[in-house]
Symmetry: D2
Subunit: 368 residues, 4 copies
């Protein structure tokens, strides 16, 4: 199982390097009959586009999605959807220098060890451009989930040591500031922090939170394909992500059982939970409450400040990584988190259809 495929039922395979001809994705398993056009995908891609403000690389990536297959008369046909984005603005000369040494915090060394050599141009396969395929596929998964009333919303929870104040969270604010934070004041303070880091040629990390609402109970597969286990893998598969937690997460480790348990109640004639410390998952299956999780994103490893590293001649050398790099990856990664979550939920939702004989009999008796 080489690693560029994700999902079993709603299955995607991404391909492409930063400075190859194009990057893209093949989605296999999208149900037939979903209305879909390039604009649906473009909306998601635009959220990860660089160059939109001073906290993102000034590179212009005019990324236009082009659908090559799987759509007929405006609807998905049930066959693979292939789509790509051409790498128009690649400037190889910017990256030629890095061929000779191993950048700290990057995969240059590990790729050389694994494969014997690497496409060093712009990070090659490990470039953030690889996420274009994920985001495009996630746009389709999101559209599918919308039909079932399931919505995802990811946002920046913290930048460096500046966190959103949970008491003042305002979801309408997310799209109004360049950091995608649901708290105007926090966003202002985070920008001050970022300005300082940029002045020092340094970078910062942060935390992204994602909420999934409208997800009904029972989604996820027991044991190894638990909903939270699949989400954890999906999130750690994003470059620069170093941690994942669901519900109370690491805080739960310091709590007592009497505090952390969510008692069941009856609400509007339906079973619900008094609290949601679990983050919407019990035993690996969705419990009907919103699914809430967070991911830790490390600071951008490419910094212009001086560092020391090793070159291919085994010499220790000082380096300064110039070129166009985001001082913080977090805002652009928000849509990647949302896309990977959508892909995960779509996959498990389709899987769940075969859980019960009564439902299978009903399904086939109605569809024959």
């Amino acid at each position: 199982m080489p690693g560029s495929t994700y999902g079993n039922r709603f299955k995607i395979t991404t391909w492409g390097e930063s400075h190859g001809k194009a990057v893209g994705v093949v989605i296999d398993g999208c149900p037939a009959g979903l209305p879909l056009c390039e604009e649906d995908i473009q909306k998601f891609l635009d959220r990860r586009k660089p160059g939109q403000n001073k906290y993102a690389t000034p590179r212009r990536e005019d990324d236009q999605a082009e659908i090559l297959s799987g759509i007929f008369q405006g609807q998905t046909t049930g066959t693979p959807i292939s789509l790509l984005v051409w790498n128009k603005t690649a400037r190889s000369q910017d990256y030629s220098k890095i061929a000779s040494y191993y950048r700290p915090g990057h995969a240059d060394y590990t790729f050389d060890e694994k494969y014997g050599f690497r496409d060093y141009r712009g990070g090659g396969r490990t470039s953030g451009r690889e996420t274009i395929g994920r985001v495009a596929a996630g746009a389709i998964a999101s559209k599918l989930l919308e039909q079932l009333g399931i919505r995802l919303c990811a946002y920046t929870k913290s930048i460096g040591n500046v966190s959103v104040d949970e008491k003042h969270m305002d979801f309408d604010e997310i799209s109004k500031n360049p950091l995608y934070m649901p708290d105007h004041d926090a966003a202002v303070r985070a920008q001050v922090l970022l300005d300082g880091a940029m002045a020092r040629k340094d970078s910062v990390g942060g935390i992204i939170e994602c909420q999934i609402t409208g997800l009904f109970p029972g989604i996820g597969e027991p044991v190894f394909d638990k909903l939270d286990a699949c989400l954890a893998r999906a999130m750690l598969s994003i470059g620069a992500v170093k941690g994942f937690e669901i519900g109370e997460g690491f805080r739960a480790a310091g709590m007592f059982g009497s505090e952390n348990n969510d008692g069941f109640i009856v609400k509007n004639g339906e079973i619900a939970k008094r609290t949601n410390h679990s983050g919407g998952v019990l035993g690996g299956l969705s419990d009907g409450a919103p699914v809430i999780f967070r991911v830790a994103v490390k600071p951008t490893p490419s910094i212009a400040a001086s560092q020391t590293t090793v070159n291919k001649n085994m010499e220790e050398i000082p380096i300064e990584i110039t070129g166009r790099h985001d001082p913080v990856i977090v805002p652009r990664a928000v849509v990647v988190v949302e896309a990977m979550a959508a892909l995960t939920v779509a996959d498990l939702l389709l899987e769940n259809m075969s859980a019960r004989l009564d439902r299978i009999l009903d399904f086939y008796s109605r569809n024959l």
Copy 2:
């Protein structure tokens, strides 16, 4: 893909319910020629055995592994290894009451929603006994990794708010205290905390840390099957685990790039890193430094203190979960974490063999 299978190359399928006849596992893909006997597995199983001290359930589970296939003349044959542990001490009467209501923090409700009904005896499939199969398989994976000089060591990092002091970590201490903490003083304080929680009929959570040493660079598959992504899924697949982080993890979110980057150096004529903030993984591939990760474990949801919940008649009722339950799951989960990590590394290590043509040619030229 129903969820009871883990791994692609070193592949396991667990089965069994707490109060069924037995629990077990089938391991397919273990290379031929590995010396293996039941004692190898028993050593691991004994580490998760309950009833060994007052912080673990006084249930006696005299769990003896029985190998049914895949071994001939003391060695693995390359064919599936099936092994099981009989459920000798199950006492169904203890659990009959819980059939009628949904325990907070457990999967009773979500299983009913997914499957229409559930085996409510002792948690059924969601019982901690499911991990017997994982631990047994992990024992085999560990033995395989040992042949290559790769060693895993998991231990308790914190219990409730009592953490191991990183400056006084002593690995020899781990097996000397009932909490598997590498710090005698912390273990003493944690026991005080636990005694208090037990007196209040409450439970506590904690954090488990795991180190993998001897792992050479390049293990893991880019993009979706990154080493850390696979570890994250493996860990969140363990019941009660709510979070995963590698290296600095969530701390990295608050760091600057200049702090978090690990500069490469030359050490004993080999490439190494000055620091190990990354936790031994770069771009999803092992980087040669020790792999270090932590998992957050929630407090045991079964507590004897009074709680409120809902029964199947949609009535809100008070409950007290009596019976034999661990006041803290963490110490018994330590070996489960280690087992799942071993399974993950073994799987990716075998996968890695086909990464490079030069090595494949060498492999086949030598073996024909």
Copy 3:
């Protein structure tokens, strides 16, 4: 992907050697709510039992299925069903001699090449006893398909050069003769052929045909997981099977398009086909007509007549394989063919549920 797992949605993993402690299977993905007991499985196992007449090995294999997990209150729970059959009658001494040489037509040599050594007792993993797991799992798949009105019927089409006369096929006859042929006269002639072969210490092969009725259109996945492609793999995975054909099969290669095409017609207000040369599959999807396929079974390789072969010292030696061996495998393989077909159809049927958005929306709107 080591090879002992079959299916993606209705997924089985078989394990066990002829002379190990037991053979068995784990079934993961069987929907919850299917009534199931050991007797359901036993009925299928009894059809492959040896020693029932003189054309089958006089070995007594009193194979009793024992279910270890996955059933509660007489129904499947949606969790893995583990079941096994103990190897009671294994007599290792019968087989010790074959450790030293490579039996013609067997996998002794190829296993030694692949794994370095082999469990030579009774064929080890390559023994026909491995099919016990398949047949047991197939019994469960058949029961599931029955709920949807889908029925499978396999039978002997020919033994050596004696074929069933298609004009006199009588399905009631199948269970009345020891060869499972749907033609009394052919069965009598085949027994004469067999008696002659046995007298010469020789063996014969034959052809098994299988019909699947009640299968509605659209089952199968385009391109690589076509229904007929999956059936072909399933059949060739049975030891001794050397060929597979669907519908006209190899005869189609000699036909003209105008002969082979099945024109569509309207029958009872529904779309049907005038003929069924296709064998119930078009473009890899079931077309509503009965699925009909055949498999070629080679003659039993273990014969008492003298042969020459090579031993481990690279010496050419004459051998006579004594012991208890079927002079023809075909009749006992009939139920294996049926079981593998049931597993294949069940798997693709569950897969098919996520093909269309309208049906998915209907499914979830009714089940929330």
Copy 4:
């Protein structure tokens, strides 16, 4: 598992419809370091190109492979290789009529049943153009196998009732006649047969044989992923293929064990077989002898002669399928058979590397 992915280790995903923008394939798992250029792929694609003689559709498909990723400095990088062929010459107007009725022998009806509607232009996803992705991927697999001395050769064994004479087989002849038959005389007679069929607006089928030489023993996985089982699935996944047999195949069903068994001998100091009735596979593993298998191809279903069928209004109507169609698919399918066989062998060969501990230890001890 939607169906457009093949292989676990050397894994391909094809995509594209006949009249969409392009058709293509993503190959994931090709080892790093394989020299590869577009010309390597073009050579294979040219073998399936139509319009090369009067027995193939006069459509001009100037199919030029374009590699989009996975190659750097003339070598594979170990990351996904994406390649496509643009659909330059699609003329949608030729196919608009078939939207209204179900062509006999085609998947129109079954796709409508499965997906609710279909891309009817030129057969959409079921078009023979889907095989472009397979052939391109197969070219890469073949190049990989060549490095290990493994060669594949497929050819036409029969067209209609005209078969190659096994005594006069001449492999040099294959590329010299338009039917790819290794027998000049048979090719001449087959052309007479074809000319007659074309005059009657009819079509014919045939048989393709493939030989794999240089394959060492032990390739294939026991039980469900046997080499022959995987080949059978690969072959039946090709549109129009109705049967598969290996070695003696269906002939073995009529043979005695004493005839069919291949006695082992010592030849040049190595173990070999006196005969090769098994077709190079024992117990699902390659046995060192050439692997030989055959596939039955049905006559082209699209014929200009009058047929009757049903339209979407449930009316029985006469039809004549005009347009550009091959009177025989067999010659163009030869390279598809070879490509699918190469993909299968490459996949299992990589899988085989983890079969034995001694080889794994040797592998890693040499590569660290």
